[in-house]
Symmetry: C2
Subunit: 402 residues, 2 copies
């Protein structure tokens, strides 16, 4: 079916918390746009929407294949990111810049908060009659986008979490005690759940896993640890930074001395050890026998290390690249707008393909861990979760013991 593509510039932006593979998607778009007759230039917006309103663009079409490959293999957002949440006036300013530069194709590599930005800009362009084709390319280590089997960025972060727990399990086994590790994930437990991939042998930790999908009860938490410690002589625990009580109040936010919020209204949970220290002290106090010595309790907060550690999953790298390429391909085949999503075709061997969703299917919605991924106890994951996550993270090192 022949059709006419409007001729103009393409803008690519990256926003929100970076991942280890967000540049794979960037390069995927650039490569797939090469040689497309309708594209007059391929511009990278510095610092997401911020660079768009300020007209700070960089020419991406002129970069060599080698240079692009180096960028693709580099974690974090090569164009720079932004936490801005554009309102109507902000978007008007973006349009002015887009019109002035005859921008007709807009590719935005973002998570669920910023994918809403993509939807708003699309609605405004529709309303103003300016033909602008908007595509959302997903990224988030939280893996919390609806209608996506999983999101680019999650497999690499899950790989880091699994490897960190493999090492910490062995550390905890050699010097037994209670060890609590705080894992990222504001509302969804997928990344915390990935700690379970560290288990290789009988008795391996993490022995307990707390996701934000279940209300967090301090008394139960202490009792769970006491039970495991009595049985194994040690206890390794994975706790999501997003755990909340039955009223939905974030434990970490209650701990934070100064509750700092970003433009999306999210309280800062990472970049502080407060939650881990609180939980470690709680366990130490509650499990100290009368007149006895407190148990050895330690906490680590994995923090920002989870986002950009230079050891990305192979599957993640390939899928992030494919998601960028798919967005460019659908744009060049006449689609007007949409959000790219990963669909799992088979698990053994693992295969996936990219599909196109409506922007409104995804924007500003949050996916949670499904019930079948969380054990009845509420403090572990199921075999179904392991089957889901295992193919994503790539090969993990094999561990041996005496």
């Amino acid at each position: 079916m022949p059709f006419d593509l409007i001729t103009g510039a393409a803008v690519i932006g990256q926003s929100g918390g970076p991942t280890a593979v967000i540049n794979q998607s960037l390069v995927g778009v650039v490569e797939a746009l090469r040689g497309a007759g309708a594209i007059t230039s391929v511009l990278g917006a510095r610092n997401g929407v911020r660079g768009m309103v300020e007209g700070r663009f960089v020419d991406l079409a002129s970069l060599s294949v080698d240079h692009l490959e180096r960028i693709a293999a580099t974690p974090s957002a090569a164009l720079g990111s932004s936490r801005d949440k554009p309102d109507h006036a902000y978007c008007e300013r973006i349009f002015e810049v887009f019109e002035r530069n005859n921008v007709r194709y807009f590719f935005y590599i973002v998570g669920n908060d910023s994918s809403d930005t993509c939807r708003i800009i699309n609605d405004l362009s529709d309303a103003s009659g300016y033909e602008l084709r908007c595509f959302h390319i997903p990224k988030t280590i939280d893996n919390d986008l609806v209608c996506n089997d999983h999101t680019p960025g999650y497999p690499s972060a899950a790989r880091f979490v699994a490897k960190a727990f493999m090492g910490d399990n062995l550390d905890n086994a050699s010097l037994p005690g209670v060890k609590i590790d705080i894992v990222m994930g504001r509302h969804a437990g997928f990344l915390t759940a990935a700690a379970a991939l560290a288990r290789q042998r009988e008795g391996d930790g993490p022995h307990l896993i707390y996701c934000p999908e279940r209300p967090f009860e301090p008394e139960r938490f202490v009792a769970d640890i006491d039970r495991v410690f009595t049985e194994h002589g040690r206890c390794l625990v994975a706790v999501s930074e997003g755990i909340a009580n039955a009223e939905g109040e974030s434990i970490a936010a209650m701990m934070a001395s100064s509750a700092e919020k970003d433009a999306h209204g999210n309280v800062q949970l990472s970049g502080s050890g407060a939650l881990g220290d609180f939980l470690a002290n709680l366990v130490k106090i509650e499990l100290t026998p009368a007149g006895g010595k407190p148990p050895r309790v330690r906490a680590d907060t994995f923090g920002y290390l989870q986002r950009c550690f230079p050891d990305a999953s192979d599957v993640d790298q390939a899928e992030a690249r494919a998601a960028g390429a798919k967005a460019a391909e659908v744009a060049m085949s006449g689609d007007k707008d949409g959000s790219i999503a990963i669909e799992r075709v088979s698990n053994e061997p693992y295969q996936s393909r990219m599909k196109l969703l409506k922007l409104t299917d995804v924007a500003a919605k949050t996916k949670h861990m499904p019930d079948e991924f969380i054990s009845d106890s509420g403090c572990d994951v199921t075999a179904a979760f392991l089957e889901y996550a295992k193919p994503l993270v790539g090969e993990l090192p094999g561990m041996g013991g005496v």
Copy 2:
């Protein structure tokens, strides 16, 4: 020169904080003792000196080559570790167990605190006339053993720190702000200094590095960050957990709500985010303009992830294995006791060899970063340090930018 080796069992133990390659040294000893006529059995002591007094041994000679290779490639102490510091009575009990089992060769894979244990046991065996040959095989991520070019365990931990800073530098560049990362190292700054290996391009962080070898002055720290932030629009900082004021008082220990000490008298510095949170709040408060918004300041504490992350340096694995083998070889060639140390032969190409020191050369002494490794500013490392550390950590991924 012919000589007679006393016939008996060999005991191998591991103690202190584990590393990614402590099992390489274990396997190095076991392999080098294979077929030695004087050795009646090769026993692994569970949990260091604790297993020795309790007679908890495991037969290591019967393990297959494949099994040993799997153990060697696994981080942490496969035999289990211990924080016990044996006194005279404790050592007497170890002798009883050693005599009962006709243990004549003792290999102890430990850092500087526990190498003193090795020396005490050796002195007691000399005094009691029981012929026991004691060898210390070094391990510590702190790299703080005197007379050693570096210690097994340091290169792998340095590799983790370098890669973590590579990722965090890119993260900080995409969402600019002040980021403070706390790195292990109680008295020596070698591991914190390894953060500098993350720098590949102009402007890359860490922009500031604080080692415990220089007194920490909060006012100067804030002024340094202010200066870098003004110049680069962001600031990535590496801080040793061991920083202390001009009076030698540990800042982390002052922060810790409950100062927990181990048997060696060391206050717990890791396993808590208190130091990072204190420094982040300090910077936030001091650098908030009058009536303005506070800057974006975050802190992460790398914690126990640095010790056992399953991504060991190739050089480290080979040297840790060679150190174990060397101890067994010198024992079998008639040497009575000593401590194995790494000597650097050349830097390009990197080559090292093992040498034998006296136990008293090493035990309970602490090596610090030499002055020529710390910049005159006191908040960075020198080219000499980079030349020293670079060959140890193995190949690091190359990063590219737009």
